[in-house]
Symmetry: C2
Subunit: 216 residues, 2 copies
């Protein structure tokens, strides 16, 4: 009998964060692959201690462990799962290169432009400078979405067949796209096509089911 791979997730987060925590990304990948996993639940409101920091240096979720490796950071865990089990990361070199290019672009070019536009109002909405800062940062976020929209065109998925790049991009558009998404009907349809996948729905249900405690 083999041990299931383990990921960490939270047993409690504030309501606004439910459905948005990054273990969603890894749960979705497992569901696409039809693979089971075990969760080790942490309370977002209590310190995790040194043992956890050794596993995840930034004290976040998800961390990942299987019989061979320990990992952290959802983008890296997706690459690992894709390589282990295929199907969400192509083997053919040109297709794989395209999926990896998009994966890195979403992590480093798309999400960092969108995140402050979405999160500054949430975390600093009461400050006098927020509106102007967001107005200054928004053009880059809009330009990045425009580029993604043009690259997607009428395709179903961003890098050929459905891949880890789609898992990340749908997550980012859903969490940080906000009202900017409405300017691109193909991106709205793309996000909706992603979250309509049975694997996404399974992942979300299990993610929500794991919120079982009060803040500690």
């Amino acid at each position: 009998m083999t041990d299931l791979p383990t990921i960490t997730a939270f047993s409690w987060v504030p309501d606004f964060a439910r459905g948005q925590v990054r273990d969603m990304v890894v749960r979705w990948a497992f569901a696409e692959l039809g693979l089971d996993y075990r969760t080790e639940l942490l309370n977002a409101a209590s310190p995790r201690g040194e043992g956890y920091i050794e596993w995840h240096p930034f004290d976040q979720v998800p961390a990942y462990r299987d019989e061979q490796v320990e990992m952290f950071e959802s983008g890296a865990i997706l690459i690992h799962l894709g390589e282990m089990h295929g199907h969400i990361l192509p083997h053919e070199p040109a297709a794989r290169a395209k999926a990896l290019s998009w994966t890195a672009a979403i992590l480093n070019t798309v999400e960092p432009a969108l995140r402050p536009v979405s999160l500054l109002p949430l975390f600093h909405g009461d400050k006098p400078w927020t509106q102007e800062a967001v107005a200054a940062l928004r053009p880059l976020a809009e330009q990045r979405l425009k580029r993604v929209s043009a690259a997607l065109g009428e395709d179903a998925w961003i890098a050929g067949d459905f891949s880890i790049a789609d898992i990340l991009l749908v997550f980012v558009l859903r969490s940080f796209g906000g009202d900017m998404l409405a300017a691109h009907s193909n991106l709205v349809a793309y996000r909706d096509r992603g979250i309509a996948r049975p694997a996404f729905e399974q992942a979300l249900a299990r993610h929500l089911d794991d919120f079982t405690t009060e803040p500690a």
Copy 2:
């Protein structure tokens, strides 16, 4: 005879950006591997057109091409070079998983926290809100640096042997660490150890040599 791999870079950027453009990351990887490459030079001040957008959807540098694949985004190109040529990305599964975890963490967790603290004063320093916005964003950047410093400890490199994660982390600390780095002597020494490598120096020299035109 085999064609050399090609990367794109700029033939002109403003002075403050020289040494900081992301083709540096890929040039450094080539130099570590002892491999030659060809550059296709673009002018940062002129539009690149549809042909280039098909290669690099975000109209940035570097894009990459070899006999098998086309790619964009420096983080992805590093993974590809590491997989093709070894040496900067371990083959052994646990070591590889650690290097990939750090690679993704630098792209998605470290750099996005540091970048606005470093770039808002540069691009919006004349605005009345900049100082307060930077003050609000700085604690997260400092916390991320503290975690990186703790994880590095007295080690020479961030994920075991020198790897693509170090190429990215040294680049990020050097470009976006600013005065926040001074709080962590091990990170200052780490950055200096990185840029003292002959491969970094070779990459920087060739990067600077390619600035051969005026703004078009």
